[in-house]
């Protein structure tokens, strides 16, 4: 398969698989839990991958906000 | 980060602050006219605000506004003026003006794009100049604009002041109905407030940065 297709497939299927396996785990995310890993596209034209970019290197502050261009 | 420069409507003799939309969680509703105990008179003709600031306050007909919800602006004064709504002026000390840069010019440029952006006022910058406030480098912005939909206008003066690694601000906004006349006197009291303003102790960030240094960070 073409590399790009494989990447696209991975990007779509990994989150879906994790979504299916996690079930409702996110609703009970607690301090002390292992942070769910992710590999997702960003606004800076590259993927953000927790283990590649942050694990062992940086503390990560994740800020969830409902939508762009709304009061934040 | 956030301004409370929304005008506040007086209802009868009880000053009620409407839920004018405060983007960043600062509501007019969060502020109430505060009894003078938050302010302590000194023999120097100034007042102390808690144990944090000292300055020359405007006359007693200006209400002290204290942000009770712990928002970004901490203290300010409101004057209800004669004339149709919205005839009022507010000025305040805001430790976190809009923007993220530590560079005054860059911060000023960005600040102007956000100032009063949610108020319906079409803001234009009429003048920008350098200044010194409390011995620190500052930029002064003069802005005004109209909201034709609500037939009102506003005129503002903003000081963005360098304070260590951060930038703080002093902001004054005068509101008028479209056919109203701006006055000079409230701005004079603002000037006195700004130029008499002193910090009585180190702020959170100054203390934090010292702690980082101690830790070798």
């Amino acid at each position: 398969m073409h590399k790009k297709t494989m990447l696209a497939l991975a990007m779509v299927s990994i989150p879906i698989l994790l979504l299916l396996t996690l079930g409702n785990a996110g609703a009970q995310l607690k301090v002390g839990d292992e942070a769910p890993s992710f590999t997702l596209p960003t606004s800076q034209g590259k993927l953000a991958d927790y283990y590649k970019d942050y694990y062992g290197k940086h503390y990560l502050i994740m800020t969830f906000f409902p939508a762009a261009f709304t009061p934040v | 980060m956030n301004q409370n420069h929304r005008k506040c409507r007086v209802m009868g003799t009880w000053v009620l602050f409407p839920v004018a939309v405060m983007v960043f969680g600062l509501g007019c509703a969060a502020m109430q006219p505060e009894k003078p105990k938050t302010l302590t008179l000194t023999e120097r003709g100034t007042v102390l605000f808690l144990d944090k600031y000292e300055f020359k306050r405007p006359p007693q007909n200006w209400f002290l506004m204290k942000n009770l919800e712990g928002g970004d602006f901490e203290l300010g004064f409101l004057l209800m003026e004669k004339g149709e709504f919205p005839s009022q002026t507010t000025f305040m000390y805001d430790a976190e003006p809009y923007g993220g840069s530590q560079n005054l010019e860059t911060r000023a440029k960005y600040y102007c794009t956000r100032f009063l952006f949610n108020s319906g006022i079409d803001v234009r910058v009429t003048k920008q100049e350098k200044a010194t406030v409390g011995g620190n480098e500052a930029i002064v912005l003069y802005m005004d604009g109209e909201n034709p939909n609500r037939s009102e206008k506003a005129k503002s003066k903003v000081y963005l002041v360098k304070k260590g690694n951060r930038i703080v601000s002093f902001v004054c906004t005068m509101w008028r109905p479209m056919n109203g006349t701006y006055a000079q006197e409230p701005f004079d009291y603002f000037e006195t407030f700004v130029h008499s303003f002193t910090f009585l102790k180190k702020d959170f960030y100054e203390n934090f940065e010292e702690e980082l240094k101690k830790q070798g960070l």
């Binding site: 606004s43 800076q44 994740m62 | 993220g100």
Partner: protein
Amino acid sequence: MDAHQRDSYLYARLNARVLGVSKDDPITNKLFAESLELEFPIVSNGLAFMAKAYGAYSEKPPFGPDGSINTFGRRTVVIDKKGIVRYIKDGSPINREILELLLTLEKESRGQK
């Protein structure tokens, strides 16, 4: 959001990075970041995965009855260098708390109290 940008010089000293998560696509997020002069990346929660996994959908489900993605709530999560969640706060972040936590984590990682 610009509070994180204002504190970025402190985050750098504390070895912390910021990652935004929004429901919008990468281009919209890029324009948004530019409009606020944000230097940190924003991840797109297009499949509702992130917000669901991180519990930002505490008040409503990730998908509406028509299959559209619901907006999620504001939430701040801080993760240490070992991938463990150390702080969760719903609503507007209190930046001082985050800074103090990062300093504590850094001291902890050096074996200090």
